[in-house]
């Protein structure tokens, strides 16, 4: 590999990692607050892909993008209200099954409505513009993704660490019951979590699919799985952790694919999960939690 191709791969990897990071944030926030692996998150991401396909068919991208984000947020919140909220008092396994049920429903619904055949993802022309820096050339989306990811993460971190809302979110995630007793409106905080998670998934989806060119009802599954692993890798519950995990997985996947091991790049993600669970179950920058007995 020449240095040019290495730089090229690093760029692609960082870009993919940025999209993964945005999706991983959704997993990590929901897990932090509800202790739920939101299996439906990967399908929210997939649905956002379809929304974009249909939005771009009738309107220009500057209108389509905010609209798609709004519709995705709506979908995320509706799922929370309909499928998770009624199960607050139920055993944790029930709510996990419910999230799988939603995932199953969204996939089958997408197959029914849009057929299982891949749908071409629209081209957002400014994102596709190719830039040339020295001997390295890449489209705008490649440069934009990591920058946008970092900006969004900084805004999110500010929100979490320096606003009242963020303080409430942290409180709920630390101790659900006590937070409730202290008068924090749990349901409102949970909704906010889903709003943020879905918005990030929608933006991640635009960045991800622009590079992939097509959407199918199952295109959310594998990226979703990887992003959850990214969240675990960084330390579930931690936003910077999810971002770090997303970048690590994105970059390593790009390099493995470039070396001709695309089949094994998925296996590698899984191996990472097993390794992190063996050696550092709390993730790279997660904190240790001691279970109370």
């Amino acid at each position: 590999m020449t240095s040019t191709t290495i730089i090229q791969h690093i760029l692609t990897g960082i870009s993919l990692g940025g999209a993964y990071a945005l999706i991983a944030i959704g997993y990590t926030l929901v897990y932090g607050i509800l202790l739920l692996i939101n299996f439906a998150h990967s399908d929210i991401f997939m649905m956002a892909g379809y929304f974009m396909v249909f939005a771009m068919a009738v309107m220009p991208w500057p209108i389509a993008i905010p609209l798609v984000i709004a519709v995705t947020i709506f979908l995320g919140v509706v799922i929370e209200k309909a499928a998770y909220k009624p199960l607050r008092a139920a055993p944790r396994m029930s709510i996990m099954i419910s999230s799988i049920g939603v995932s199953y429903l969204l996939q089958n619904l997408a197959t029914y409505l849009f057929s299982a055949l891949p749908k071409g993802y629209p081209t957002i022309s400014p994102l596709k513009r190719v830039f040339q820096i020295g001997s390295v050339s890449a489209s705008l989306v490649t440069f934009l993704t990591p920058v946008l990811t970092l900006i969004l993460v900084f805004i999110l971190m500010y929100l979490i660490n320096h606003t009242k809302l963020g303080m409430a979110m942290r409180a709920v995630s630390k101790d659900y019951d006590t937070a409730k007793l202290m008068g924090i409106k749990i349901n409102q905080i949970i909704s906010v979590t889903f709003v943020i998670g879905s918005a990030m998934a929608a933006i991640g989806s635009i960045l991800y699919f622009t590079d992939r060119m097509s959407v199918t009802p199952f295109s959310g599954t594998l990226p979703g799985l990887k992003c959850f692993v990214a969240a675990v890798l960084g330390g579930i519950g931690s936003v910077p952790g999810a971002v770090l995990g997303g970048f690590i997985i994105g970059i390593s996947e790009t390099f493995l694919t470039a070396m001709g091991y695309s089949t094994y790049s998925d296996a590698f993600t899984f191996l990472l999960l097993i390794l992190i669970l063996i050696f550092r179950p709390t993730g790279l920058i997660g904190e240790t939690v001691t279970d109370k007995v």
């Binding site: 499928a83 396994m93 799988i100 049920g101 089958n108 029914y112 299982a116 296996a267």
Partner: protein, 384 residues
């Protein structure tokens, strides 16, 4: 009065039921040509009932959540297929790169045994390999919160699928072309009517597998599993080694799932990696949830009901429906699965106990059903 039904009469009822069932299955299988649909539904149902019960063993009785069913089934299916495809036709199956020589010579070595033995060997080997994978995944993952098992097994399942269809595996799994010419269940013999065994063989194997799991649940180990489900910390304080027992449950469940995968390969006659997508795991979960987490008979009943509705009774959802010259708009390909996913959500949200809750089928309950109905709750309390 009915509660005092003697052990003797229960045994008698059970025996009668088995005789009636075997006779019915036999009559159906030798008349396969006229009852093709029924036979194939029954085959698929009984195979899925093994997977459903083994998922329930883990999920409903041990409180662990594995989503690796499709992956473990794939392992069982491929291994069974490789060992059961006749050596004569193997070249036509692996027409691109041929079967790996070491595997071929192993297969030829096995050819001294009758085909039934080879198939059985494939099924068991599939189970053992799946069990080994389960043990390996379990060691790091089962120490942690049970959530991680779900995601790790789901990941495992996807990886297995990717590896099975990868070009590097061409000489073993035939890559993305998949395997065909897998023999079915029917026993080929000059003395038996054509079709004999099509149903009795899978039913017999399922009966063995499910009986094993039921006996496990009712044993001291089964009680230990349930204690872990109820409260892991307390179970540990009772001297139960958590990791060991969770591993046991996970291994047995995965072993059985792989056996069912092997049977599925024989049912389908041809398989490829796409057969074992995550949606397959979700289909099983649907069966278990509808049957009731923690009820073996619920899982079995649900496997038959769900499969029959999906493949037969509710097929019409996928066909365009025209009444009085008007085409009803909703009915077209894919609608059936939407209906099923909505059904799953309805059960999860509103009927969390499913068909059977955590109760089991019993003759006395069935026979006293009409009378008991209005007072069902009272009766349950009394027994509880």
């Amino acid at each position: 009065m009915l509660r005092s039904m003697t052990k003797k009469s229960t045994t008698l009822l059970n025996l009668t039921a088995v005789v009636v069932l075997v006779t019915l299955l036999y009559l159906l299988e030798i008349n396969k040509n006229s009852f093709g649909m029924a036979v194939s539904i029954l085959q698929k149902s009984v195979i899925l009932s093994i997977v459903a019960v083994s998922m329930n063993l883990l999920n409903g009785f041990t409180g662990l959540f594995s989503l690796g069913q499709a992956g473990f089934m794939a392992i069982g299916a491929y291994i069974t297929a490789i060992f059961s495809i006749s050596s004569d036709t193997i070249d036509s199956v692996y027409y691109t790169s041929g079967l790996a020589p070491w595997l071929m010579s192993f297969k030829l070595g096995l050819d001294v045994f009758p085909s039934a033995i080879r198939i059985l060997f494939g099924l068991l080997l599939g189970g053992v390999v799946a069990g080994l994978f389960a043990a390996l995944i379990g060691i790091p993952v089962l120490r942690l919160k049970s959530d991680y098992l779900a995601i790790a097994t789901l990941g495992f399942s996807e990886i297995i699928r990717a590896i099975l269809s990868s070009p590097q595996m061409d000489q073993i799994t035939n890559g993305s072309y998949g395997l065909k010419n897998i023999p079915g269940f029917a026993i080929e013999s000059d003395f038996l009517p054509v079709g004999t065994g099509s149903l009795l063989v899978p039913f017999a194997i399922a009966a063995l597998c499910i009986t094993f799991m039921v006996m496990l649940i009712k044993s001291s180990y089964g009680r230990a599993f349930m204690a872990i489900r109820e409260d892991g910390v307390a179970a540990e304080a009772m001297g139960i080694n958590l990791l060991k027992h969770k591993e046991l449950s996970f291994i047995v469940s995965s072993f059985m799932t792989a056996i069912a995968g092997g049977l599925l390969a024989m049912f389908m006659r041809s398989i490829d990696a796409r057969t074992f997508q995550i949606s397959m795991t979700y289909d099983i979960l649907l069966i278990v949830v509808i049957g009731g987490l923690g009820s073996i008979t619920g899982s079995i009943l649900s496997a038959f009901l769900v499969t029959a509705s999906k493949e037969w009774w509710l097929r019409f959802f996928d066909q365009p429906l025209i009444t009085g010259g008007i085409t009803i708009p909703l009915f077209r390909t894919g609608f059936r699965m939407v209906v099923f996913s909505v059904l799953l959500m309805v059960v999860v949200l509103f009927f969390r106990r499913g068909l059977m809750g955590n109760r089991e089928f019993s003759w006395s309950a069935l026979l006293s059903w009409p009378k008991r109905m209005p007072k069902a709750k009272k009766g349950a309390n009394k027994r509880g």
